[in-house]
């Protein structure tokens, strides 16, 4: 290893774990107002505080749920185990939920609140990435006149399935409320962005299955057949959930879930 590489490795290791190598300050000149240890301490402190501030912005609801001090403790452990890799700060939270899952603070005796924190972290990161994901702004969306066979999901779309109502908890925190930890309750949601506004759409289990099928490439007919088979719903009823008087078709089109592809002849719905 070159002298330069060795110096960089040592300085970086001293940022990740300030206690690992007490002799790291020997890298630096001792004159100057801060001295070697004082100067290094500024980088060490800044490293953690900068990343923690950014993580609080990516996970505002989780920070609310845990309280700032505990959240910061989690972040400190997280970045020691998983130091940031990519050039973008947006990537900081990518591995957070998986890390919490692997390093559950409740160990072998699972506690519900930990499940909630993990699910909330997953939802928050999904919502956060949707804000800057590749989207359909500037292009044409499907309209209510688009044939079912031509409907496809747009790129800024994601599905999530959780053990707790994490989406409503998240939005309550974003509105400035102080929600209490919710009881377990299965929760399916879609995230979709149109005109740079990210919309959270709560879903029933059949709706979730329908959209999951479309996300995997099915068209509407195939996705409807899937929920009929999966939930034992009569095909007519399934179609009614889709495009009946109270069906989701109109609203989902209005919210920008779909684009139109050229898919052969137009058929009546």
């Amino acid at each position: 290893m070159s002298v330069l590489a060795d110096m960089q490795s040592r300085m970086h290791a001293a940022l990740i774990d300030p206690h690992a190598d007490p002799a790291a300050q020997a890298l630096f000149a001792h004159d100057g107002r801060l001295g070697a240890a004082g100067g290094l301490a500024i980088y060490q402190r800044g490293y953690f505080l900068r990343i923690a501030a950014c993580m609080r912005e990516q996970f505002p609801a989780l920070c609310h749920a845990l309280g700032r001090a505990l959240f910061d403790d989690f972040v400190a452990d997280y970045i020691r185990d998983c130091p940031p890799e990519r050039h973008t700060l947006y990537d900081l939270g990518r591995r957070f939920a998986d890390w919490m899952e692997a390093r559950r603070p409740d160990g072998d005796a699972p506690e519900a609140w930990v499940d909630f924190m993990i699910d909330l972290a997953r939802f928050e990161y999904a919502a956060f990435t949707m804000f800057d994901a590749e989207g359909n702004e500037g292009n044409v969306f499907a309209t209510s006149d688009t044939a079912d066979s031509a409907l496809r999901l747009q790129p800024a779309f994601a599905l999530g399935r959780y053990r707790f109502p994490v989406a409503s908890y998240y939005h309550a925190v974003r509105r400035g409320e102080a929600p209490l930890l919710p009881a377990p309750e299965p929760c399916h949601v879609a995230l979709v962005r149109r005109d740079y506004i990210t919309r959270t759409v709560p879903l029933s289990a059949p709706h979730y299955t329908f959209l999951a099928a479309m996300l995997a490439g099915s068209d509407v007919d195939a996705a409807l057949a899937r929920i009929s088979a999966r939930f034992g719903i009569d095909p007519m009823m399934a179609r009614d959930m889709w495009c009946g008087a109270a069906g989701s078709r109109e609203r989902w089109i209005e919210w920008g879930l779909f684009v139109a592809v050229d898919a052969g002849p137009v058929k009546d719905i």
């Binding site: 070159s2 002298v3 330069l4 110096m7 960089q8 490795s9 300085m11 970086h12 940022l15 990740i16 890298l27 630096f28 000149a29 004159d31 107002r33 801060l34 070697a36 004082g38 100067g39 290094l40 980088y43 402190r45 800044g46 490293y47 505080l49 900068r50 990343i51 501030a53 950014c54 912005e57 990516q58 505002p60 130091p83 940031p84 050039h87 973008t88 700060l89 947006y90 804000f131 800057d132 994901a133 590749e134 989207g135 500037g138 790129p155 800024a156 989406a167 409503s168 939005h171 740079y196 506004i197 990210t198 919309r199 959270t200 759409v201 709560p202 879903l203 029933s204 709706h207 609203r251």
Partner: protein
């Protein structure tokens, strides 16, 4: 890119006048107001991989104003291999936005595959100089334009350093044809902390290679100062600006503000103070504005995030 070609391109870069760092809290004010004599500097990483509103905003700003791209993660000094994916993404952004130039810092941001999200200082040695010069040449080749490198603010100096920062940058510029971004606040911060003389730093600095200057505020802790970008420019820094700007022959000048960011008009008012010093006014002692508070974290990296994140929740479908 041969040195002569880079030199030629440098000489052709425009004198942009006064500009502001593009920050998300100002997006609406910038795009709704009357166009004015101004330019913007965008943090490259905040827009490089953006498929959302930030990229659309940058497009709209670039249609109305000159824009330059300022990076914080090129890591030109790192001993890790150059990040080809990063450079390809930066090049795509540059092809899209057509900035007047592309800059980053004389620093390294990480090593061993990790990113510290800080601008870490280089040991200023002949080994570093050869290493950085080789990488600057590669980057210039790839981006097909001269790279503009900034002096970072620093809190340590490597015991092994044998060159001064001005000498290092001068040699680097001569060997590669790169341009320089002189941040006079960083000069003040680094020199104060090192106990050295900022005027002597400017005297040694190759001002003829300076394409752009930075102004910013720092926080004074008495024993040391930190480059916080969270307050007005201090009198000592205006004085360095007055001296250096004249020596650069009128380099483009930009105000950076990254934390506790005031409204757009207040930032503009702070920026326009530069006109006095460009006209040669000396700094009056009353010019120092002392602002207390803040958590003293150096702030080299502008983040966008939630204030630009609009969201709604629908009732059950």
């Amino acid at each position: 890119m041969p040195v002569a070609a880079a030199d030629g391109k440098l000489a052709g870069l425009p004198r942009l006048g006064l500009g502001l760092g593009l920050r998300n809290v100002h997006f609406d004010a910038i795009l709704s107001g009357e166009p004015q004599d101004l330019w913007f500097e965008a943090i490259s990483e905040n827009f490089m991989d953006s498929g959302g509103r930030p990229r659309a905003i940058l497009h709209a700003v670039a249609e109305r104003y000159p824009v330059v791209l300022h990076g914080v993660s090129l890591s030109i000094g790192s001993t890790d291999p150059l990040d080809r994916a990063y450079l390809a993404s930066l090049k795509r952004l540059a092809q899209d936005i057509r900035p007047a130039w592309v800059s980053d810092h004389l620093c390294w941001t990480g090593v061993n595959g990790h990113n510290s999200h800080d601008l870490l200082p280089m040991p200023l040695t002949e080994e570093s100089l050869a290493h950085v010069a080789a990488r600057v040449r590669q980057v210039q080749e790839l981006l097909e334009r001269p790279l503009i490198l900034e002096n970072p603010s620093s809190y340590v100096r490597f015991a092994q350093s044998t060159l001064s920062e001005p000498d290092f940058l001068r040699a680097l510029a001569e060997e590669t044809g790169c341009g320089l971004l002189l941040d006079v606040n960083n000069v003040y911060v680094s020199c104060f902390n090192a106990g050295s003389d900022p005027i002597a730093y400017l005297d040694a600095f190759p001002c003829e290679r300076v394409v752009q200057m930075h102004l910013a505020g720092h926080q004074d802790f008495g024993t040391h100062v930190i480059d916080t970008h969270d307050r007005p420019v201090r009198a000592e820094v205006w004085e360095l600006f007055r001296i250096a700007w004249a020596r650069t022959g009128g380099a483009a000048t930009l105000l950076e503000w990254d934390d506790h960011i005031p409204g757009f008009d207040d930032c503009l008012a702070e920026l326009r103070k530069a006109e006095r010093y460009m006209a040669g006014d000396t700094v009056s002692s009353g010019a120092a504005e002392c602002v207390r508070g803040g958590d003293g974290v150096s702030n080299p990296v502008g983040f966008l995030i939630p204030r630009a994140m609009a969201s709604v929740m629908e009732d059950a479908a």
